[in-house]
């Protein structure tokens, strides 16, 4: 009987070894361990054994059962693992096929750069101010120290509105918002004002009758020209990286005194001089200055108590510099193939 048990175990293991399907394992379990299985059949003969033999054989039979069960389980695990591996192998896909897109649009590049600038200034405590695009001569010129007959008006190329005796016009600069803000708000004032401006320039690669400016204005006690420099340097480092250098050049604007133009080290050559910067090493970026005392006074602010600075930058120029766009017209043609690049 002992031999029989050992034979069953050996046979079972042999059959298990050659088994390759999970389903066949069940058949084997029934064949050997089932109620009508071979092991059970042998155990049924236990009664015929002597009292001495019975516990020995019983122990052996239990061991054989346990061994077969163990072998069945390990075979099952191994077959499952094989099946899983085969399935995974079979499910392998071409990961270089394109992804599936949900519809998603793009912001216009002008908006993207404007948003960046807004966020920087918001972080510095600047509010965003708006003003009318169609405004009057007073807010666009006169209050900004450009009285009638001022020679600097020649350079403004203003569009005038019909039927208003040239008193209502399309604003030529966002500086008009300075006046609106100072008329209606007490210092401390910290604002930027992005928006559309209009000048009668014919369309070409670098000119457009409509473009965008971002005006900045700070009015408070003790504002200095070094504050202006620090603010603009911080802005440009955030926008163009810590390596960029600014150059402040004296200039003239009627609404600031002292006035300056600010140049940035050339994006292309970094300041050495190249064809892009006409060998200057710098590219003109924006105009700025200390708010002219007359402008403060025109808005009812005491220039002996308060001082301020203002700046105005051209958004198109910054966008074109940022993305290496060489033709301004692309920004207003709105070709989808252009828009999807940003």
């Amino acid at each position: 009987m002992k031999e029989q048990l050992e034979k069953i175990e050996a046979l079972a293991k042999q059959e298990l070894d050659s088994c390759t399907e999970i389903k066949a394992l069940d058949d084997l379990r029934i064949k050997y361990l089932g109620k009508k299985g071979e092991l059970t059949a042998i155990l049924k003969q236990m009664g015929k054994l002597s009292a001495e033999e019975r516990p020995v054989i019983g122990q052996l039979a239990n061991k054989v059962r346990a061994d077969i069960e163990e072998a069945l389980k390990s075979k099952l695990d191994s077959l499952k693992a094989d099946a899983q591996a085969a399935k995974i192998k079979e499910e392998s896909i071409d990961i270089t096929l394109p992804g599936k897109y949900a519809p998603f649009g793009k912001l216009h590049p002008l908006t993207k750069v404007e948003n960046e600038i807004r966020e920087i200034f918001l972080g510095l405590g600047f509010e965003i101010a708006d003003g009318p695009e169609i405004d009057d001569d007073y807010h666009v010129f006169e209050a900004l120290n450009l009285p009638p007959d001022h020679p600097a008006r020649d350079t403004q190329d203003t569009f005038y509105i019909d039927g208003t005796d040239e008193t209502v016009l399309l604003r030529t600069q966002t500086s008009s918002v300075q006046v609106h803000v100072m008329e209606n708000q007490k210092p401390p004032i910290r604002i930027i004002s992005p928006g559309r401006v209009f000048r009668s320039d014919a369309v070409d690669a670098t000119h457009s009758p409509l473009f965008h400016q971002i005006e900045g204005l700070v009015v408070d006690k003790g504002i200095t020209m070094s504050d202006l420099k620090g603010t603009l340097e911080m802005l440009m480092k955030k926008l163009y990286g810590n390596d960029c250098k600014l150059r402040f050049r004296p200039h003239h604007f009627p609404f600031t005194e002292p006035s300056c133009e600010v140049d940035i080290s050339c994006f292309n050559c970094g300041g050495k001089g190249c064809s892009m910067c006409k060998d200057e090493g710098y590219i003109e970026l924006l105009g700025a200055g200390m708010v002219h005392p007359k402008v403060l006074e025109n808005c009812g602010i005491d220039s002996n108590v308060y001082s301020g600075f203002a700046f105005g930058l051209g958004l198109e120029r910054m966008v074109m510099g940022r993305y290496d766009i060489n033709d301004l017209r692309l920004l207003y043609e709105n070709d989808v193939r252009f828009l999807e690049q940003f």
Partner: protein, 818 residues
């Protein structure tokens, strides 16, 4: 302003490298646009003397010259020119030399005879007869200049100047002159400035025997200086003067005209020289013109004058428009014998207004209208006479006329070094400031800064701070980080627009930017009726063209233009949006903005003379191609509105709408107005086939426009959380048959009303017309989800609700599909 560096060196020793010079002047406030080195293409060309000229042994049109060029031995040059003789002084291009146009000269053999260079003509040096009137055009330039053999040709013929182009800002007309820029140069480099007072000897005579001058309007003409040159000799001016005028961009004409231009360039003071013969009565009156008075100006145009214009007149007629241009006969002619020189000060606004009104500009007017030094007239008259004598151009009468009504009080401003430092954020010692200012001819006395008379721009303390800052160097001013705190956030509107814009992108929209002005032709292009309010526009008086001549009253045509552009550029599909303004004329009185009093003082605000237009802001959406149809657009709008917390919106047919005239651009059966509680949020729909054709778009196109202010007024301010359901929902599906005409919105409304509180969601899942459905009818299928927050719904509750639903639907003609 083009500056001759040679001329500049008369007044200040500016021998630094030109690039450094340009940079330094730019950084001290006189911006350099560029510079031009004369003769920079010419190298290794020298003055030579022909020692002998003999015929070429192998040619009958070539000659062989031995040329002395300042070296140990003469060199041999073969030339084809026929105008050369032994003893001639000529320009010689040596072996390895360069000439204008990139020409290089190398030695070689001409018909077997060695030639070590080339003799040059005027043209080969980039010159012409105007530069050297004695030379011939088609032959070697036989020089009559005072020069040495072997000397570089550029210095020998004065081609060694450098012209620097300055961009002078409108506040600094004093820098539109050589002396003005010399002063800036001296101040920038801290060099001495040498300007001598001009002197002339003159011949005895009384100027009053020749001319009488009266200023009638002493406010507009504050000074008039005049003098007489008799026995004049009109001829070309000398080479040095011609060269300097040329380097300054002025064409030489004759000695008298050249002198007036020379003094103007040197001092910035316009001068006028005219023939005494044509001054009737030998009497000059500076007076206002009489209305209708006429003058033929030097440019050959007859101009009618008005009484707000100032003229220089003789006893009968105007001879010049003051400060702008002389009359036809006032110029210098070949037979002029006696010349009157005028040097005057005219009030800038007067000149500017007259110039603008007549549409007439000149070098003189552009200087007068910016403002010349009001105290310099006599100095310049003397300078002109000094030059007349230097050139031997005539005899100057040694007495002059000076009618002087100028106010000689200098501009002065309080000086405080502390204030300047606190304004600039610097720590510049007072003594340094005073030194900087003195370099610019300012004086500091008794706590005041006294401005020189040529500085017409000095009015306040900040002006002095700028003078100090630019000499100190803007780039030496420290940079400080922003101090203090301020509270700032986006306004409600700015936040709303930010969310809207991002939502539009998330829904697949590409943002566009279009012009605010459009062509009035768009009215017809979008089929607006003649009486449409959108045809009432804000018009531009001076547009660039008809295309951009009116401010748009609708953003939809701009969108259609861009869609058309994309379609015609073969872009298969487009889904675009723009957040931008429309401009609507208004009759409303809008005299003040906000209150009528300034926030920072008790003064009254500026009052608007005309009401400004309204500038409502919209989001405009447009699409074609891909799966674009009415419902794609509607879905996008519904999702946008949902994101903006706007719910309970109705879509009604656009046809009856009085608010949006863009409805005429849309398909009447496929367009809708978006309403919420009577507020007209926007309009949407398929573009009318005719309009689509007009815009040359070959596929169905969809547009919408939503008013942002109206959207904001409809948006829920607050979102309140609803507890998640504890009990399961019960769903019933329903297929109905109703008239094709019945809008599904009506069915939904009936369902919602009938189910009541337990309704969770009504979902339309099918609309069917066709086989098995009677003509004129449609089948509509809904899934109705119901749920109670008090417990699981029983079948009785659900069935009861469905019975109510069927009853309500039956009342509007919808029956359960059998």
């Amino acid at each position: 302003m083009n500056l001759s560096m040679k001329w500049l060196n008369d007044y200040v020793k500016a021998d630094m490298p030109i690039k450094d010079y340009c940079h330094a002047l730019t950084m001290s406030g006189s911006k350099v646009e560029g510079y031009e080195i004369e003769g920079k293409e010419i190298s290794n060309v020298v003055v030579g003397k022909l020692l002998s000229v003999v015929p070429h042994e192998n040619s009958d049109h070539l000659v062989v010259c031995q040329v002395e060029v300042g070296k140990e031995a003469p060199i041999q040059i073969v030339t084809g020119a026929s105008n050369v003789n032994a003893g001639d002084i000529v320009p010689v291009a040596l072996d390895g030399s360069t000439l204008p146009g990139g020409i290089k000269i190398k030695k070689g053999k001409l018909r077997g005879v060695e030639s070590n260079g080339m003799l040059c003509s005027l043209g080969e040096l980039g010159l012409d007869k105007r530069d050297f009137p004695y030379a011939i055009e088609d032959g070697i330039f036989i020089m009559q200049e005072n020069c040495e053999i072997g000397q570089d040709i550029k210095s020998a013929i004065g081609l060694d100047d450098t012209s620097v182009e300055f961009e002078i800002t409108s506040n600094r007309p004093d820098c539109l002159s050589v002396i003005g820029l010399a002063r800036e140069t001296a101040a920038t480099y801290n060099l001495p400035l040498n300007v001598k007072a001009p002197e002339f000897k003159g011949v005895d005579g009384d100027v009053n025997d020749f001319l009488k001058v009266d200023i009638i309007n002493t406010e507009k003409c504050q000074r008039y200086c005049a003098g007489i040159v008799k026995n004049v000799k009109i001829e070309p001016s000398p080479r040095w003067m011609r060269e300097r005028l040329r380097a300054s961009g002025v064409r030489p004409i004759n000695n008298f005209v050249d002198i007036t231009n020379y003094v103007m360039l040197e001092y910035g003071q316009p001068m006028h020289a005219f023939d005494l013969r044509f001054v009737e009565g030998s009497h000059i009156n500076v007076r206002n013109a009489v209305n209708g008075e006429k003058i033929m100006t030097l440019d050959g145009v007859e101009r009618e004058l008005t009484d707000d214009m100032l003229v220089i007149a003789d006893e009968k007629k105007p001879v010049a428009v003051a400060g702008i241009m002389g009359g036809e006969y006032s110029g210098i002619m070949d037979d002029t014998a006696t010349v009157v020189f005028e040097s005057a000060y005219f009030e800038p606004t007067q000149v500017r207004r007259t110039s603008k009104k007549l549409g007439l500009k000149s070098d003189a007017s552009s200087r007068y209208e910016k403002g010349v030094d009001r105290l310099i007239s006599m100095t310049c008259l003397k300078r002109a006479f000094e030059l007349v004598e230097l050139l031997g151009a005539g005899e100057v009468v040694n007495t002059v006329i000076d009618c002087d009504y100028t106010d000689k009080t200098p501009a002065s401003v309080d000086f405080s070094a502390d204030w300047i430092n606190s304004f600039l954020g610097t720590d510049i010692p007072e003594a340094d400031m005073i030194e900087y200012l003195s370099r610019l001819d300012f004086k500091v006395e008794n706590g005041k800064v006294i401005a020189p008379s040529f500085r017409i721009d000095i009015e306040c303390k900040a002006d002095i701070a700028e003078e100090v800052a630019r000499i100190y160097g803007y780039n030496n001013i420290p940079s400080t980080d922003f101090r203090g705190v301020a509270k700032a956030e986006y306004t409600k509107e700015q936040k709303f627009i930010r969310t809207l814009r991002n939502a539009a992108v998330a829904l697949g929209g590409y943002e566009i930017a279009t012009y605010s002005f459009v062509s009035p032709k768009y009215f017809d292009k979008i089929k607006l009726p003649q009486d449409s309010k959108l045809r009432k526009t804000v018009k531009i008086v001076n547009p660039l063209g008809e295309d951009t001549s009116v401010m748009r009253t609708s953003t939809i045509p701009s969108m259609l233009d861009v869609l058309s552009f994309n379609y015609n550029n073969r872009n298969e599909k487009a889904c675009l949006f723009e957040i931008a303004k429309e401009y609507l004329p208004t009759d409303e009185e809008k005299p003040f903005e906000g209150g009528s009093i300034l926030a920072n003082s008790n003064k009254e605000k500026h009052r608007y003379a005309y009401s400004l237009p309204d500038e409502p802001q919209n989001i405009t959406i447009g699409m074609y191609g891909g799966d674009a149809d009415f419902y794609t657009l509607k879905g996008m709008i519904e999702q946008l509105l949902d994101e903006m917390n706007i719910s309970g919106v109705e879509y009604v047919r656009a046809g009856d709408c009085e608010v949006f005239d863009e409805k005429y651009a849309l398909h009447p059966g496929r367009s809708a107005v978006i309403l919420k509680d009577g507020v007209h949020i926007g309009i949407m729909g398929e573009v009318h086939p005719e309009v689509q054709e007009t815009y040359e778009i070959g596929v169905k196109t969809y547009v919408a426009k939503l008013n942002i202010a109206e959207m904001m007024s409809c948006a829920a301010e607050k979102i309140t959380y609803k507890p998640l359901p504890k009990f399961p929902a019960t769903t019933r599906d329903l297929s109905l048959i109703c008239d094709d005409e019945t809008p599904v919105a009506e069915l939904e409304k009936a369902i919602k009303g009938a189910v009541g509180k337990i309704l969770e969601k009504v979902t339309l899942f099918d609309v069917y017309k066709g086989k098995q459905i009677e003509a004129g009818k449609k089948s509509v299928s809904y899934s109705i989800s119901m749920r109670s927050h008090e417990g699981t719904l029983t079948d009785e509750q659900a069935d009861g609700a469905m019975k109510r639903v069927l009853k309500a639907l039956s009342a509007i003609g919808a029956e359960l599909r059998g």
